[in-house]
């Protein structure tokens, strides 16, 4: 409990003029009420204005490219600043592929961590592990990028990549994904680093929704003789399914928009390759690399078009996540 200070503390600006008549004080209070309320409404409107402003600025900036290339902007793989031919297909492909890899690796790990913290770990271990996993989210993305390029990629090229190619390379379908020289960098590496980066976000939501499960449900299942895994599989997961998917969506939103870490390791090549070990590009890494150097209106406008597409994708993903998380009850 907090008690609002000593009498001298409580004497704010309005209380100093005790000689004023009550009527005028009430009136002044009402004016200040309106002013203060106006300031909060104005700040709320600023948030609205910013989001509208971002959308408008991107749409206006992108209009030249969209007019010139039409719907073909989405499907063309051309990216040639010299002939001023631009298409967004390669960056969109790279963004989606790296994010899918990040989800495929990140979701099981996040689920494992959330399970470990909520159901397995002894009480004294819960907090340190929880904090450590949350610190993964605090490491700046540029640090992930440096570590990825200078430490992880060489190790990956020397150890894991040859092993994966030897064991998966001859399989149908999967084999095509691991072809190419083991360079360390490329779309798979980018996806893997994104996976580590989204783990703390997905884990946090999963932990939150797991604790929402009523104790009676849990204990009834245990009382019937269920093992911990059975309680998780048949009671907790069905109860929290919607929230878990919402958390995954939030993580996906992060992965889609992540910039610096990806820019370091993806190789920055405007191409679509079947192999995940080949360099590629994402929307955000294209912007980071080329926006400052873009010459000519069409080039800049195409880059803004990429930004608009990215903003729309993350918007849809977020809206979906909110819809699902809203249903679990409360704000998470």
């Amino acid at each position: 409990m907090l008690i609002p200070g000593s009498p001298s503390d409580a004497a704010g600006p309005g209380m100093t003029d005790s000689t004023a008549t009550p009527a005028s004080r009430i009136q002044r209070g009402a004016v200040r009420d309106r002013l203060f309320r106006g300031a909060t409404v104005l700040s709320g409107a600023t948030v609205f204005g910013l989001v509208l402003g971002i959308l408008t600025a991107l749409a206006v900036g992108a209009s030249l490219a969209l007019q010139k290339f039409g719907a073909g902007f989405l499907t063309s793989t051309a990216w040639n600043p010299v002939t001023e031919q631009f298409g967004a297909a390669a960056p969109i492909y790279g963004t989606l592929v790296t994010s899918v890899i990040a989800m495929l690796i990140g979701i099981p790990i996040s689920f494992g961590v959330a399970l470990f913290i909520t159901e397995v770990a002894p009480t004294w271990l819960k907090r340190p592990i929880g904090t450590a996993v949350e610190l993964l989210a605090a490491v700046p993305s540029i640090i992930y990028g440096m570590w990825g390029l200078f430490v992880f990629a060489p190790w990956f090229a020397d150890h894991l990549q040859p092993w994966m190619q030897a064991h998966l390379g001859s399989l149908p379908w999967v084999g095509a994904l691991v072809q190419g020289p083991p360079m360390g960098i490329g779309m798979f590496t980018a996806g893997l680093i994104l996976a580590i980066m989204v783990v703390p976000f997905i884990t946090a939501v999963m932990r939150d929704v797991f604790t929402v499960v009523p104790t009676e449900l849990r204990e009834s299942a245990y009382g019937l003789g269920a093992t911990t895994w059975e309680v998780v599989r048949h009671v907790i997961l069905p109860y929290t399914r919607v929230g878990v998917i919402g958390g995954v969506m939030l993580g996906l939103g992060r992965a889609l928009g992540e910039t610096m870490a990806v820019t370091f390791v993806i190789g920055n090549a405007q191409q679509i390759s079947a192999s995940l070990f080949m360099p590629g590009n994402t929307i955000s890494s294209t912007l980071a690399n080329e926006f400052n150097e873009a010459v000519g209106d069409t080039y800049t406008s195409s880059l803004l078009g990429l930004g608009l597409i990215l903003f729309m994708i993350t918007f849809v993903v977020l809206a979906f996540a909110r819809l699902l998380l809203g249903r679990v009850g409360g704000r998470i």
């Binding site: 907090l2 609002p4 409580a10 704010g12 309005g14 200040r32 203060f36 309320r37 909060t40 409404v41 104005l42 700040s43 709320g44 600023t46 948030v47 910013l50 989001v51 402003g53 971002i54 600025a57 790990i109 399970l115 470990f116 913290i117 450590a132 949350e134 610190l135 993964l136 605090a138 490491v139 700046p140 993305s141 640090i143 990028g145 440096m146 570590w147 200078f150 580590i196 093992t227 911990t228 895994w229 059975e230 939030l250 928009g257 992540e258 910039t259 370091f264 955000s284 912007l287 980071a288 926006f291 400052n292 930004g307 903003f311 993350t314 918007f315 977020l318 809206a319 909110r322 704000r331």
Partner: protein
């Protein structure tokens, strides 16, 4: 042959071990990254790192101008963003509450919160850099403020809502007008929580690189003019790490070490702050 009971026990053991393994993997990456920073950054951390400006390739120097620039930019971002965020959070918790307008604002705030930081950089470029004709520290601070605002809106609202209505009603019953109830009673009760939110926002923007690439850019020299491009740690780290010069790369690692550990400390301080506060309630 295993009976049903043994099989259930085994499945349980297996899945719980896998969850422990997943936790181990997550922690392994954290320690791998921190170890990398210590090993590559610590040998190049010296007093000169904090006292000298960024050098041309091949000569001695430090990161002093970048550190100061980062402090200016993050400070500017907080000064611009925090008041707007607190006031908008106040609207949500004190005036809007469950109205349709407030629900919509919460959603729009989430959209801003999840907007990729590079998109925010591009937006501020279009808004300020293009219109002013050059990169500037102002533009960088505004870009960071756009990241601060949604974080502070959210934490402020959450913390203001924790203040019980009884307290508001007691103050109102004594005849205090609403603005005074909020500024003198509710803010005071929620102050530690709101400050925590600002600290977390500060931690978040300290490492942001993408929004600064197109706004504050970089500057190899001391710059005290806010209308000019300004050196800042994240962009210096990016440029130096990607450069072919070894001494630049060494400085990049030293900078990476400084920035990461400052942010980790900020995070831990903010969290423990929040925890003691929650424990008291």
């Amino acid at each position: 042959m295993m009976n049903l009971y043994q099989r259930r026990r085994l499945t349980n053991l297996l899945s719980l071990s896998l969850s422990a393994l997943a936790t181990g993997i997550a922690l392994l990456f954290l320690f791998w990254i921190l170890w990398t920073l210590l090993r590559n950054g610590l040998p190049y951390l010296a007093l000169s790192t904090f006292t000298q400006s960024t050098p041309p390739p091949g000569s001695q120097g430090g990161l002093a101008n970048a550190i100061v620039g980062s402090l200016i930019l993050t400070g500017g971002g907080i000064i611009i963003g925090a008041p707007i965020g607190i006031l908008a959070g106040t609207y949500l918790s004190e005036f809007g509450r469950n109205s349709r307008m407030a629900t919509l604002l919460r959603f729009v705030n989430d959209v801003l919160l999840s907007a990729p930081s590079i998109v925010i950089g591009v937006f501020v470029y279009e808004l300020l850099v293009r219109t002013m004709g050059h990169f500037s520290a102002y533009a960088g601070a505004v870009a960071l403020a756009l990241i601060v605002i949604p974080i502070v809106v959210r934490t402020s609202e959450d913390m203001l809502r924790l203040v019980s209505d009884t307290m508001r009603e007691s103050a109102a019953a004594l005849g205090a007008p609403q603005w005074k109830v909020i500024t003198h009673i509710v803010y005071r009760a929620a102050r530690p929580g709101i400050l925590t939110g600002i600290l977390l926002a500060l931690a978040r923007i300290s490492g942001e690189t993408a929004p600064l690439l197109f706004t504050a850019l970089n500057n190899q020299f001391w710059s005290s003019s806010l209308g000019q491009p300004i050196a800042n740690l994240p962009v210096v780290i990016f440029q130096f790490a990607m450069s072919p010069y070894e001494d630049w790369q060494h400085l990049a690692w030293a900078g990476a070490l400084i920035i990461t550990f400052s942010i980790l400390v900020l995070n831990i301080v903010a969290r423990s702050f929040l925890r003691t506060r929650r424990a008291r309630h």
